[in-house]
């Protein structure tokens, strides 16, 4: 193994994704423009135009076709990528099922953006979380570095378990905000991520195959089970790949939930993506003031890291779940999932759901402090004031 000397570049989250696509030696990109995703595919097109990347680029006429063309490319045997956001992701919905059902290791970046109406281009996780039952794995990036690392790891994991992966980043907060990203020299990426070796392709003309044929009730059930099992098996692969990434490049991703100060915290903040950056900042501050707080940043939402969640829940008195998303008629999606995962276990921390930052509403260190004060009072009194709080609501 050659010595790792990172190349530091100041890039946006979207450019970090584009560089990762280039370094992953993706062969086919099919994509359609949508704010705030567009600069990913623009940057990829620029790489192609400058002769820096050898990629077949299909400028399709919709996101539905973007996913369909990516599926065609992946089934043929190529390493394929696409990217989208919000309405585009919703339009792809049908084909998301197709990609996972056909067991294609596609990697897609979704830039979290609020669903319309009312029109909004700003950060909100409901677009990606609403796709939770499509059979895709989901990785949430906290910062631009994790966007870059996430795409590279996603290809390795996806191609090992033959399940597609969505790498999710925040609109503007990451997608258009510049930050230092440590990139990996091409030859070291190649060592970590060798060319794809598909189990089946559409190019073995002596042994033709059929993909996606009708399955009767006598067989469909087992196909579903195999996909379910692939998700369970993926947990081990995710940890292994995350550990290998850490050994090679110094950033360890072996935990599906990144934990901070959990061991001596009365309560932890739990959430997905970039808002956890704000939380981490606030936790340092709060701890210096004597608050016994920690954080649990859920990196992988699918497969859901229930085992790691249980370990945390057994240690703390309370969990403040921060959802930048909402399931109407119910509650925040991560909150709902976390409670469900803990039911039937011995762990019974007080759990409260804070609905924050929808449609790009600012979520600040000051907000985390307010939530901390509220949680502290709840834990001290042992009384939950309400289960779900619309935190920023104008009164």
């Amino acid at each position: 193994m050659a010595e790792y000397k990172p190349i530091r570049k100041v890039v946006s989250g979207n450019y970090a994704a584009a560089y990762a696509v280039k370094h992953a030696r993706v062969q086919v990109v099919a994509a359609y423009p949508i704010t705030p995703q567009t600069s990913i595919i623009e940057k990829i097109a620029e790489f192609i135009a400058n002769g820096e990347a050898d990629i077949q680029y299909v400028p399709v006429e919709s996101e539905h076709s973007a996913m369909a063309a990516t599926i065609g490319a992946s089934a043929t045997g190529a390493r394929a990528f696409t990217a989208t956001a919000a309405q585009g992701l919703a339009l792809m919905h049908e084909m998301l099922h197709w990609a996972s059902g056909a067991r294609l290791p596609i990697v897609m970046v979704d830039v979290n953006r609020a669903m319309a109406p009312p029109w909004s281009v700003w950060d909100d996780q409901t677009d990606s979380l609403a796709q939770r039952d499509t059979g895709w794995m989901q990785f949430y990036a906290e910062n631009n570095q994790e966007v870059y690392d996430g795409v590279l790891m996603a290809f390795k994991v996806a191609e090992t378990v033959n399940v597609p992966i969505m790498v999710v980043e925040s609109a503007f907060i990451l997608s258009h905000t510049y930050d230092v990203v440590e990139m990996i020299p091409q030859e070291l990426v190649d060592e970590f991520l060798p060319p794809r070796k598909p189990l089946y392709t559409l190019t073995d003309f002596d042994n033709p195959i059929s993909v996606g044929a009708l399955a009767t009730p006598a067989d469909y059930y087992e196909f579903r089970y195999k996909l379910a099992k692939a998700h369970e098996d993926a947990k081990k692969i995710i940890k292994e790949v995350g550990r290998e990434f850490g050994e090679r490049f110094g950033r360890d991703y072996s935990d599906m939930i990144e934990k901070g100060h959990v061991d001596d915290a009365d309560f932890v903040f739990m959430g997905l993506g970039s808002l956890m950056g704000t939380v981490k900042e606030a936790v340092d501050l709060l701890r210096s003031e004597g608050y016994r707080v920690g954080y649990a940043k859920v990196r992988w939402f699918r497969p859901f890291p229930r085992e790691e969640l249980l370990e945390i829940a057994e240690k703390v008195k309370g969990i403040a779940v921060l959802d930048r998303n909402f399931s109407f008629g119910q509650e925040g999606i991560l909150f709902n999932e976390a409670k469900g995962a803990l039911y039937g276990t011995g762990a019974r921390p007080i759990m409260k759901n804070y609905i924050v930052g929808l449609g790009g509403r600012d979520f600040t260190v000051r907000d985390v402090r307010a939530i901390a004060e509220n949680m502290k009072a709840i834990i001290e009194s042992g009384k939950l004031d309400r289960e779900v709080e619309w935190f920023h609501l104008k009164r």
Binding site: V58, V60, E61, S65, A68, A69, A78, L202, S210, A215
Partner: protein, 311 residues
Amino acid sequence: MEIPESVKKRLTLPAEEHFYAGHTACQGCGASLGLRYVLKAYGRKTIVVIPACCSTIIAGAWPYNTLDANLFHTAFETTGAVMSGIEAALKAMGYKVKGEDGVMVVGWAGDGGTADIGLQALSGFLERGHDAVYIMYDNEAYMNTGIQRSGSTPYGAWTTNTPGGKRHFLEKRHKKKVIDIVIAHEVPYAATASVAYPEDFIKKLRKAKEIPGPSFIQLFSPCPTGWRSPTDKSIEIARLAVQTAYFPLFEYENGKYRINMPSTRREPKPIEEFLKLQGRFKYMTREDVEILQRWVNHEWEKLKKLAEVFG
């Protein structure tokens, strides 16, 4: 079974078979014949994309497969897009696509999947210029879901959602001219074909392979189940569709139109000849037949003019 040389040299179609017997098409199905011809023309070095349509079923339920070629089943509206992705991947992986010894990417979609729900993906595929052939097998309704009208259903046809009845609720819109929409993309090669004229179809399939860029063939494929016609009359009905100029055979090649009717000199037969063998047209009044005849005449004159001016 080995075909004797004496027989082989008299065959006007390729002897090789890549479409197995034992498929699940209805008796007298035009589409299954059509797919058999496609595979005869292109052989095994083919990737077939089939969206939701009768051929989803005809190709067989897992683990069976009627096609002796790689097959990707896909969602209803995605044929053009999936073909585009396959073609791009083949090029990325270093394969020769189309032309002599090239891999053939074939889209095989019904009229609903082409004229209606798949039109956008088809347009994208044509406009971007992918090296592949899209074949629309046209049985003039959604047959797999049980005979509902599509954009390609002709005036006067009974379907289960244009059922005739006391209020004379029949299909009252003329057939959508998908081939004209395709030609508007100025594709290198587009043609109509019919299962009643297999030599002509095979010739067109070969051209579609040779000519670089996107090709399109609209194949007239009778459906006895949906057309309420005798299962042994499919070829006769398909032939009459051509002879009445209801479905004229022609090619559009590099900007030039060429009518390739079996006989271009003979005047078309009256449309009744085509209608009378099919139960789906039994609700048509005399006025309905006249309306359809006028449309056929108009379209036929237009085509002849196009062939004259851009021939």
